[in-house]
């Protein structure tokens, strides 16, 4: 059914355009949700003018002329007119899938190959990116272009609390930021030697990051975790923990970034974040989308991450997630496999020079016991990733990397998705349980399966063990 406009011009020639530029992967047989910005090539591309796009009552009833915001609403309304059966039908042939391009020429989504599939979605996108921010939060004077974004923010504004590494609690974001910058917890860059427990937590956390980096499907992080973990679990000797550090080290291929990752200090994680993690996340726009969280509102969410990673602050939230703030700038949404991307990426890093040798770090990692308690970490992390729209127009790189300047609008999406956390939490419950099971199963690991457990004899590239590379 064609949209009926009353006296408004449509700058669209898209209805004549049958196919989208064929730079997209062919549609899968199974109907699955495409990534935003990678539309179905068979879809009909519609280009609406800004005026048309923002018009509220685009769908008009031909009988009484009443306008509706949505096609579905119009159809419902038409039923009430008691039309003869013939006229009840839609006037056009069967509707084709429609995708919409952004009217703003400079926008990435202006090109049909990056069209968005949802009319509401393109409306919101247009508003957020190219529209005037008319809605303003009273408490913190943050501005929004889309009313629903503003409403969602107002609900949570001021209710968030921010906790620093040092344990201080803040209700105001600005004083939190200032404190953070001057806090001692941040300043211990040179103190790289700490208790083994720190290393464990750090590496455990790193594995998480890493694995998330390798997963590439969107909606169900859970499923992706298990296959990723499987090879390692089957081959490792026992405690998952031992494989975890191993995997991260392995992925690092003994580069200097492994030093960064193996840093003992939790504050080190910040360094990692700025360098190593940034690259890990470069593999996955989903992850980088997650990284947008902290930049907007989710310092507290970030604390969730830190909480699981830290053994020193039991029950307290730590700030390991702060590195994620850098991740918003992490670039390309390429889906290359983590190892290869990582190895290319890390060359661009300006990483701090390694202080501990890789072997020493391996030894330390081997000595770590198993206190993996990531479930909630993964939940929160996975959840956030799940709920965000992955924006294919990329993210900007960390300042250390080559700049890649495309903004994301994930932030608002993420904010809106905050409420979905609890539902996703349930979904992800299965994951930790799975791993705990395998953990118990593999307690009798021989040394051959010890990914990293022995440490001393292990090289930095235990790739032969599980065949990842």
């Amino acid at each position: 059914m064609l949209e009926k406009m009353a006296g408004e011009e449509i700058t669209s020639s898209a209805t004549t355009q049958d196919t989208v530029v064929g730079s997209n992967p062919p549609p899968v047989v199974k109907k699955k949700r495409n990534l935003p910005g990678n539309p179905d090539p068979d879809a009909e591309v519609i280009a609406l003018s800004p005026k048309t796009l923002m018009a509220t009552n685009r769908f008009l009833c031909e009988i009484c002329g009443k306008g509706f915001q949505r096609d579905q609403n119009l159809q419902l309304h038409r039923r009430g007119h008691n039309l003869p059966w013939k006229l009840k039908q839609r006037t056009s042939k069967e509707p084709r899938k429609r995708v919409y391009v952004c009217p703003e020429k400079t926008c990435v989504h202006h090109h049909p190959s990056r069209a968005l599939g949802d009319l509401t979605g393109i409306k919101k996108h247009f508003c957020r990116k190219h529209g005037e921010k008319k809605w303003k939060c009273e408490k913190c004077s943050k501005r929004y272009a889309v009313q629903s974004d503003w409403k969602a923010h107002s609900k949570t504004c001021g209710t968030r609390e921010y906790r620093c590494d040092c344990g201080t609690l803040f209700s105001r974001r600005d004083s939190f930021i200032t404190h953070r910058a001057f806090c001692d917890a941040l300043a211990e860059e040179t103190a790289r030697i700490t208790a083994a427990s720190n290393i464990h937590n750090v590496t455990a956390g790193n594995i998480n990051y890493h694995f998330l980096g390798t997963s590439s499907a969107r909606p169900n992080m859970v499923q992706h975790f298990s296959p990723v973990f499987k090879p390692i679990q089957s081959s490792n000797d026992g405690a998952i923990d031992q494989s975890r550090p191993g995997l991260s080290l392995w992925m690092n291929q003994g580069s200097q970034s492994s030093q960064a990752l193996m840093n003992n200090n939790l504050p080190e994680l910040h360094q990692i974040g700025s360098a190593g993690l940034g690259t890990l996340f470069a593999t996955d726009p989903l992850i980088s989308s997650c990284s947008n969280i902290p930049s907007q509102m989710d310092y507290p969410v970030n604390w969730d991450f830190g909480n699981k990673l830290s053994s020193t602050n039991t029950g307290e939230l730590t700030s390991t997630s702060l590195p994620l703030t850098n991740l918003k700038e992490v670039g390309s949404p390429r889906f290359s496999s983590a190892p290869s991307l990582y190895s290319t990426q890390h060359h661009h890093n300006q990483l701090p020079p390694p202080i501990m040798s890789a072997t020493a770090l391996l030894q330390k990692a081997a000595a770590i016991g198993s206190t993996w308690n990531e479930p909630s970490f993964l939940e929160s992390f996975g959840v956030k990733c799940n709920n965000s729209q992955v924006v294919q127009d990329g993210n900007k790189y960390n300042g250390l990397f080559a700049p890649n300047s495309v903004p994301t609008n994930l932030t608002t999406d993420l904010e809106n998705s905050a409420s979905d956390l609890s539902s996703m939490n349930n979904q992800l419950q299965m994951y930790p349980r799975k791993r705990q099971n395998t953990q118990k199963d593999d307690t009798e690991g021989g040394q051959t399966r010890d990914f990293l457990g022995v440490g001393v004899h292990q090289t930095i590239c235990p790739s032969t063990i599980n065949g990842w590379i």
Binding site: E138, S141, T178, F182, L186, A187, E189, T325, K396, V406
Partner: protein, 437 residues
């Protein structure tokens, strides 16, 4: 009764009696708000002089009397009043006692012409005990309980961000007294608000003593935080505040492809009065896109030659400040004590040190404030005012809402005034402005 005062010898005995009474009076006064020494004869002139203070403000009364006596060189009265003040004052008491303590110290030094000596002693003590830790605690706590400094920060950051929007190489020349606490929020904004994160070079102009004591730590933390935020960052320190008027573009490291912003928070008042116009001119030569100036609303400059007038203004301002501190901090706050000690040194330098070539405290620490309007006149020589945008004003309002009641924002009236005023209990206390060449 009045005549007794002028008789030196007996008056000493009087003093002791007065003292007894004075103490009781002081105690009663606090309870009953009775004027002090109402039975002693020292209040004769204060009542008749159109004293604006209420009955509870005994310190102001005595202090003013003493200042007047000083200007009249009435040494016996000076003695008398100073002695009274000494008995009643305490740096650890209530507001009145604190004011009495700090101001009487300044008056004493003025009377004995020991101003510079005393000031230097206090300064070196402070410097020795100053550390990054203590300075950090003090300033952060102050910012947490009071918008005195954060007001200027938010306004300035807003103006800077707007003026430098779209630039890729930013250079901020920071001449402030807030230990770089302004910059984390700016770094965060640079990292998140814009699509492309620009590079930021921060050049801090400070005193030699500051550089020695706290700048190293501040550098570390700023650099680390900028790394965390993902903002390419450079931090430079130029410890030549005392010769600010003569600094050049090269000395400050200003390059031609950079977009420059100059940020002066509580800075211009530390320049010698005679050098201020030269400094304004120097800032202009840097070619900045925006100059943000934040100063406190007090005028110790135009009355430089009239001691009593200057004293009155000084007393008015610091009474407000101490009252604000008392109501914002917890009663037993260490940070508040540190701030008050700093005020004490400042009061001393304004009242008891000569600003001239002879006075050694006319270097970095003299703080002859001027009001916003006066600064406007100076700045208009080289710059034209830029109003704060609605967004920035909204940000400031939102900031004030996060603090206790009593703070408010006032936009300037009249044409010869620009900027924003922070008011505490309806009194303007801090002025923030932005200028472009």
């Amino acid at each position: 009764m009045d005549t007794v005062i002028y008789n030196p010898k007996p008056s000493y005995f009087m003093y002791s009696n007065v003292n007894q009474q004075g103490n009781d009076q002081a105690v009663d006064m606090r309870n009953n708000n009775q004027p002090p020494a109402s039975q002693a004869s020292t209040s004769h002139s204060s009542e008749s002089a159109g004293d604006p203070c209420g009955p509870g403000k005994w310190a102001a009364r005595l202090l003013r009397d003493c200042a007047k006596a000083l200007s009249e060189k009435d040494s016996s009265r000076i003695h008398h009043l100073l002695w009274m003040l000494n008995e009643l004052a305490s740096a650890y008491g209530d507001c009145e006692q604190k004011l009495a303590s700090h101001f009487s110290q300044a008056l004493f030094c003025k009377a004995t012409e020991m101003g510079e000596l005393c000031f230097n002693t206090l300064s070196s003590v402070a410097e020795r005990s100053r550390s990054f830790e203590s300075a950090r605690k003090m300033i952060l706590k102050f910012q947490e309980v009071s918008p005195w400094t954060t007001f200027g920060h938010v306004a300035s950051n807003g103006a800077i961000l707007e003026a430098l929007d779209g630039e890729s190489k930013l250079h901020i020349i920071d001449i402030s007294n807030t230990f770089c606490t302004q910059w984390p929020t700016l770094l965060e904004a640079l990292a998140t608000r814009n699509d492309e994160t620009p590079r930021l070079k921060l050049t801090v102009v400070t005193t030699v003593s500051m550089e020695r004591s706290v700048m190293k730590e501040i550098r570390q933390r700023m650099e680390k935080f900028a790394r965390l935020m993902g903002v390419p960052f450079e931090f430079h320190v130029v410890s030549e505040l005392y010769r600010l008027a003569e600094l050049t573009k090269e000395e400050l490291g200003v390059q031609d492809d950079e977009a420059v912003a100059v940020n002066c928070i509580g800075a211009l008042r530390r320049i010698n009065v005679k050098d201020r116009d030269a400094v304004v001119h120097m800032l202009h030569t840097l070619g900045p896109k925006v100059v943000t100036v934040v100063e406190e609303e007090a005028d110790f400059t135009s009355s430089m030659d009239d001691f009593v007038k200057c004293f009155d203004e000084c007393l008015r301002f610091y009474a407000l400040f101490f009252e604000m501190l008392e109501e914002s901090f917890l009663p037993t706050s260490n940070e508040r004590l540190m701030l008050e000690r700093e005020c004490s040194r400042s009061i001393l330098s304004v009242l008891a040190c000569d600003e001239g070539d002879g006075g050694s405290c006319s270097t970095e620490e003299s703080e002859r404030r001027e009001r916003g309007r006066q600064w406007c006149d100076r700045l208009k020589e080289a710059f034209s005012p830029v109003g704060f945008s609605d967004d920035v004003v909204d940000d400031v309002r939102a900031l004030l809402k996060r603090y206790r009641a009593g703070w408010s924002l006032v936009l300037p009236q009249g044409d010869d005034d620009s900027g924003l005023y922070l008011t505490w209990k309806e009194e303007p206390v801090v002025w923030a402005s932005a200028w472009k060449p």
